[in-house]
C-alpha cells in the first residue's frame, strides 16, 4: 500500500480527515456493539425462561394427549379431531432494534379449541387442548424472541468485526501512511533546505 501512496500534502490532509472519520466511526460502532450485546443478553435471558416454560407445557400437553388417545377407540379419535374449529392467523410485522429489522408476530385466534362432543371423548383431551392453547401464546412469543435474538447476534458479529477492522487494521494503517507521508514530506523539506543551503554556499563562494 505504501508503495503507491502519493506523498503529497493534499494526501496527508485527506488521510488526516479519514483517520478522524474512522475513529469517530469506531467509537460509534463500539457503542452500537455494546448496546446490541446488552439487548441480546436481555432477550436471551427472557428466552431461556420462556423456553423452559414452553417445553414443560408442550411435554405436559403431549403426555395428556397420549393418555387421552390411548383411552379412546381409534375411530372416535378420528371423528373427534377430523375438522378442527380453532383458526390461527399469524402476521409478521417488522420492528427495528438498533436499526436491525426484527420480526414481530401478530396472531389472530378465533374459534374454540375443543371441537368435539362429550360422549365418546376423554376429558384428558380437553385438558391437553386447553394447555396447548395456553402454550400457544408463549410459543409464538418464543418464536419471535428467538428470531430476534438470532438476527441481533448476526448483527453483533458484523458490528464487532467492523469495530475490530477499524481498530486493528484501518486506523493503524492510516496512521502508518500518515507517518510515511509525513516522513516523506519532512525528507523532501530537508532535501530542499539542504539544497538551498548548498546553492547559498555556491553563490557566496
Amino acid at each position: 500500500m505504501l508503495a503507491n501512496v502519493n506523498a503529497t500534502r493534499m494526501e496527508l490532509l485527506r488521510l488526516r480527515k479519514r483517520v478522524a472519520l474512522a475513529s469517530r466511526g469506531h467509537r460509534l460502532l463500539s457503542e452500537k456493539r455494546d448496546e446490541i450485546s446488552r439487548r441480546l443478553i436481555q432477550i436471551a435471558r427472557g428466552i431461556s425462561l420462556l423456553r423452559k416454560r414452553v417445553e414443560a407445557q408442550l411435554l405436559e400437553t403431549c403426555r395428556r394427549f397420549m393418555m387421552a388417545r390411548a383411552s379412546m377407540e381409534p375411530e372416535h379419535i378420528k371423528a373427534a379431531l377430523a375438522v378442527p374449529t380453532k383458526k390461527l392467523t399469524l402476521t409478521v410485522q417488522f420492528a427495528s432494534i438498533m436499526n436491525v429489522k426484527v420480526p414481530h408476530l401478530l396472531k389472530e385466534i378465533s374459534g374454540r379449541i375443543i371441537c368435539y362432543g362429550f360422549a365418546t371423548t376423554s376429558g384428558e383431551m380437553d385438558v391437553a387442548l386447553i394447555a396447548l392453547e395456553k402454550a400457544f401464546d408463549d410459543l409464538v412469543e418464543l418464536a419471535e424472541k428467538e428470531k430476534q435474538a438470532a438476527l441481533l447476534a448476526t448483527e453483533l458479529r458484523m458490528t464487532r468485526r467492523r469495530v475490530n477492522v477499524l481498530e486493528h487494521v484501518i486506523i493503524p494503517e492510516l496512521h502508518e501512511t500518515i507517518r510515511f507521508i509525513f516522513d516523506k514530506l519532512a525528507e523532501a523539506e530537508r532535501d530542499n533546505i539542504s539544497r538551498l543551503m548548498k546553492i547559498t554556499d555556491i553563490i557566496r563562494a
Binding site: 403431549c62 403426555r63 395428556r64 397420549m66 393418555m67 388417545r69 390411548a70 383411552s71 379412546m72 377407540e73 381409534p74 375411530e75 372416535h76 378420528k78 371423528a79 373427534a80 377430523a82 375438522v83 374449529t85 374454540r112 375443543i114 371441537c115 368435539y116 362432543g117 362429550f118 360422549a119 365418546t120 376423554s122 376429558g123 384428558e124 380437553d126 385438558v127 386447553i130
Partner: protein, 345 residues
C-alpha cells in the same frame, strides 16, 4: 318375553341396576364366555405392567398371552395392530355367540355413529367425504361414502338417517361442528335405550342408562373444568335427569359429591372431583367411571345362561384392550407410574 317393568327409578337399587333373568337358549354361549373370562388379564397384571422398569419389561409381561407382539416388531404401530386385531376377534366371537341378531346390530351401531360423526363433519364443512371409515358397523363404508357423496340418505338405516338429518339441522343453528356431535351423542343414547326396551332387556336398559349417567357425570366435570358456557349437552334417558346435572354446574368441586347423595355415583364423583381439583386431571374420574361400569358388567356373574354375560364379556374385553393400550402408551412415553395407577384404579 315376560312383561317387565322397564322404567326404573334410581332408588330401587343401591349400586347396580338389575341384570334380568336367565335365558336358557344361551347356556352354551354363556359357558363358553365364562371359560374365556378365565383367560382375561387380572388387575394385578396391569399393576405389574405399570410398575415395570421399562416399556420392554411391560411388553414382556404380555408375551405369554394372546396379546403377544411378534418378535422384532419394534414400533408402536405393530402393537396397535395386534390390539385392533384382538378387538376384531372379540367382536366376531360376540356376533357368533349372540342368538339375538338385533343385539349384535345394536352393538355394531356404535361404529355407525362414529362413522357418521366423521362423515357429517367432513360433509358439512365442505371437505371431501374421504375414506378411512370403520368397516365394522352395520353400514358398509362404501355405502356411507356414496350416500354422503350423493347426499342421498335413503340408503342408510333409519337410525343413521334420522341422526344425520337431526345433526345437520342442529349444525346450521350456529355452524358449530360440536353441535353435530352433541346431537349424534343424544340420539345414539336414545337409540340404544329404545332398542333395549324394544328387546325387553332389563340388563341392556340398565347398562345404557348407566352409561348415559356416567357420560353425563364426566361431561359435568369437564364443563366445570373448562368453564364452558354450554349447558344443553347432557344426554337424556339416564337414571338422573339432565336438569340434575345442570344444577351441579353451579356447585364447587367439594360440594358436587353431595349432590349425588343417595345415588350409586356419590363415591366416584367425590373421588373424581377431588382429584380434578388437586391434580387438574380427569384420570381418576375416568378410571372410576370405567370401574363402575365394569362392576355392573361383573354383576352378570349371577346369570347362568343369558345374553347378559356375553355382552359383558364383549365390553370387558374391549376395556381390557383399551387398558393395555393405555399402559403401554404410558410406559412408552415414560410417564409417572402413579398416573397410570390412578387411571387404571
Amino acid at each position: 318375553m315376560p312383561q317387565v317393568k322397564l322404567r326404573q327409578s334410581i332408588l330401587e337399587f343401591s349400586t347396580y341396576p338389575p341384570v334380568g333373568d336367565d335365558d336358557w337358549r344361551y347356556a352354551f354361549a354363556t359357558a363358553r364366555v365364562r371359560a374365556l373370562e378365565t383367560q382375561m388379564l387380572p388387575r394385578a397384571t396391569f399393576q405389574d405392567m405399570a410398575n415395570a422398569q421399562s416399556f420392554e419389561n411391560a411388553l414382556d409381561m404380555l408375551s405369554a398371552g394372546q396379546y403377544a407382539v411378534p418378535k422384532g416388531a419394534a414400533g408402536f404401530a405393530d402393537i396397535e395392530e395386534v390390539l385392533l386385531q384382538r378387538r376384531a376377534e372379540v367382536r366376531e366371537l360376540f356376533a357368533s355367540l349372540m342368538i339375538d341378531e338385533s343385539i349384535v346390530e345394536l352393538f355394531k351401531s356404535r361404529d355407525d355413529f362414529a362413522n357418521l360423526r366423521l362423515a357429517l363433519r367432513r360433509a358439512l364443512t365442505d371437505k371431501p367425504v374421504g375414506a378411512d371409515y370403520s368397516p365394522s358397523g352395520n353400514v358398509a363404508p362404501e355405502v356411507l361414502e356414496q350416500a354422503f357423496a350423493e347426499e342421498n340418505y335413503a340408503v342408510l338405516p333409519g337410525y343413521v338417517r334420522r341422526a344425520a338429518e337431526a345433526a345437520t339441522i342442529n349444525y346450521y343453528q350456529d355452524k358449530d361442528v360440536r353441535r353435530i356431535d352433541y346431537e349424534i351423542d343424544r340420539l345414539q343414547a336414545l337409540h340404544n335405550i329404545d332398542e333395549a326396551r324394544r328387546l325387553g332387556s332389563i340388563f341392556l336398559d340398565g347398562l345404557f342408562r348407566t352409561q348415559v349417567d356416567l357420560t353425563n357425570i364426566r361431561t359435568l366435570l369437564r364443563l366445570k373444568f373448562t368453564e364452558s358456557e354450554q349447558i344443553d349437552v347432557f344426554l337424556d334417558g339416564g337414571f338422573l335427569e339432565p336438569a340434575f346435572y345442570k344444577h351441579g354446574l353451579d356447585l364447587g368441586y367439594e360440594a358436587i359429591g353431595n349432590l349425588f347423595f343417595a345415588t350409586p355415583y356419590q363415591h366416584l364423583v367425590e373421588v373424581g372431583a377431588g382429584y380434578l381439583a388437586s391434580n387438574k386431571s380427569f384420570l381418576k374420574t375416568e378410571g372410576q367411571c370405567d370401574r363402575h361400569l365394569i362392576g355392573l358388567l361383573k354383576s352378570t356373574a349371577q346369570i347362568t345362561a343369558g345374553p347378559q354375560p356375553i355382552i359383558a364379556y364383549l365390553l370387558m374385553k374391549e376395556h381390557e384392550i383399551r387398558t393395555i393400550r393405555l399402559v403401554l402408551t404410558a410406559k412408552k412415553n415414560s410417564l409417572d407410574t402413579r398416573l397410570i395407577l390412578d387411571r387404571i384404579a
